[in-house]
Symmetry: C2
Subunit: 137 residues, 2 copies
Amino acid sequence: MEQKFRSTCPISSALDIIGDKWSLLIIRDMLFSGKKTYGEFGKSSEKIATNILSNRLTKLEELEIISKGKMEGNKKTNIYSLTQKGKELLPILMEIAQWSDHNLNDHLQDGAKPFVNRFKSDKDGFVKGMYAMMEKR
Amino acid sequence: MEQKFRSTCPISSALDIIGDKWSLLIIRDMLFSGKKTYGEFGKSSEKIATNILSNRLTKLEELEIISKGKMEGNKKTNIYSLTQKGKELLPILMEIAQWSDHNLNDHLQDGAKPFVNRFKSDKDGFVKGMYAMMEKR
DNA sequence: ATTATTACTTGCATTTTACAAGTGAAAACA
DNA sequence: TGTTTTCACTTGTAAAATGCAAGTAATAAT
């Protein structure tokens, strides 16, 4: 799979990579739920199809947004981790969450509000705190 | 066209709306280039197909991210404007631009860097400045 | 030795996207 | 005033992406 870019615009180029309905949900599950394995990703409430999940994991790995490793003492379970490039998607996800919180309120029913509020009141602090937390798990 | 949501997650729900390769590019052109008409949107360097452009404008209007009006003294040119809901997509676009600036540097060739740097050094100030500027045009 | 789990792949129907051409009304021009 | 552009789309069709169900192969558990 070769990545194609429509232009040299930074926004357009990012969308060429993550501009679909599934890639950022995988990243979301890694960032916020600590998911690591193919099986775990398949269990999200949005029910990603297994072939699409496989395709996206491959793409994200090729783009070095995630990396694939083996679980110690287990030869069949693969462990996916976020690279630095992948972790840096966090602020994008938080701004998306904040936008939804502001503008999709009637639809949502979720415990994400306090989370979003902590981000709003101190964006840099929140992001740094999340990065620190990820080191430990 | 009825909007469907895969879950009540804020991130997933936002992606159900703007998670494709074109919607945010239209918003980009409205925010950063002041584009307003169907013809102007069609001229972006990414070459959106006319049927897709039409489809996205309709969707974005239904979702009240943009609104459609008439140009004064002209019965054929339509004017699309961002609603508040649409303007609030700016921080998402800026975080995307910043991510690309950090992580896609070898690919990009664009004068967006100083722009991104102003955002990085003072995010809230940058966003407020942009909103103020948009009032005037 | 058998069953269950994990991480996928495959085939096919449906939906979305892309490309090219066409339409109809308003505006500009001769 | 008649003709040509311009503008904002729509339509038809091929190609690509997505969604769904079932299947496979290796490892791990019983």
